[in-house]
Amino acid sequence: MITVRFFAMLRNKTGCEFKEYRILKPITVAELKKMLKADFPALSGMLDSRSLLISVNLEFAGMDTMIKDGDEVGLLPPFSGG
C-alpha cells in the first residue's frame, strides 16, 4: 500500500485528503501520475504542470524516483508560506 496525500487546492479538486494504492512492485513517480490522472481527471492539468512538486517519504522526488510499498507520496502545489 502506498499513500498519496493531497494538499491545499488539490484537496479541493479531489474532494479527499489522501488516496491509497496497492502496488505489486515498485513504480515510478511517472507511473503513479498516470494512475492519478485516471482516478482524478480534475488533477490532469496540475499533474502535467511543472509547478506541481512531488515528495516521496518527505523528500522531493523526480519523475523516475521509485515508489515502493509503504511509501508516502505528497502532491505539493506551489508553496506560499512565509
Binding site: M9, G74, L76, P77, F79, G82
Partner: protein
C-alpha cells in the same frame, strides 16, 4: 534545544523569548537579526480579512530543520531559530519568525535573508486568503 529552535505551531511566538533561546548558544553573539512576516490587509490589490495556513506535517518541520542546518553550515552564524505558525491568522498577526545570531552583523543579515527566501522556496506550507469573493489558495491566483 535544537528542536525547540525550529517549530511549526498554532500559537503566536515571542521574538524576545526566541532571541533569548538563541543567545544561550554563546556569549560570543554580537548580532541578532530577526525577520517577522506579518499578515497584511492587502495582497496584490485584493483586500484580505484573514489567513489560514496549512502545512505538510512532518515534511514542513523537516525542511525547516534542513534550512537551519544549511544556514549553520554555509554562513558564519552561531545559531538560528525558525518558527512558522499554522491555522487561522488574523490581519496584523505574526506568521513567521527567523532569528539569526552571529559574532558580526553581516553574517546574521545574510543568513536571515537567505533563510526566509529558502523557506518560501522549499517548505510545504500553503496560505489561503479570506477575501470578499471567498477563500482563495494563494497559488490559484498567479
Amino acid at each position: 534545544m535544537s528542536d525547540s529552535l525550529v517549530r511549526i505551531q498554532k500559537e503566536g511566538f515571542s521574538v524576545e523569548e526566541t532571541s533569548a533561546l538563541v543567545k544561550k548558544a554563546s556569549k560570543g553573539i554580537g548580532a541578532l537579526v530577526s525577520f517577522v512576516g506579518a499578515a497584511r490587509d492587502f495582497s496584490k490589490g485584493k483586500e484580505i480579512s484573514g489567513l489560514d495556513f496549512e502545512h505538510y506535517p512532518g515534511m514542513a518541520e523537516k525542511k525547516l530543520k534542513d534550512i537551519r542546518m544549511r544556514a549553520l553550515a554555509n554562513f558564519d552564524i552561531i545559531e538560528m531559530a525558525i518558527i512558522h505558525r499554522t491555522g487561522l491568522i488574523a490581519i496584523g498577526e505574526d506568521i513567521v519568525l527567523i532569528v539569526a545570531a552571529s559574532a558580526h552583523r553581516n553574517d546574521a543579515f545574510m543568513a536571515c535573508e537567505w533563510a526566509i527566501t529558502e523557506l518560501k522556496r522549499t517548505t510545504p506550507i500553503w496560505k489561503r486568503e479570506t477575501t470578499k469573493e471567498g477563500d482563495v489558495w494563494v497559488s490559484e491566483t498567479p
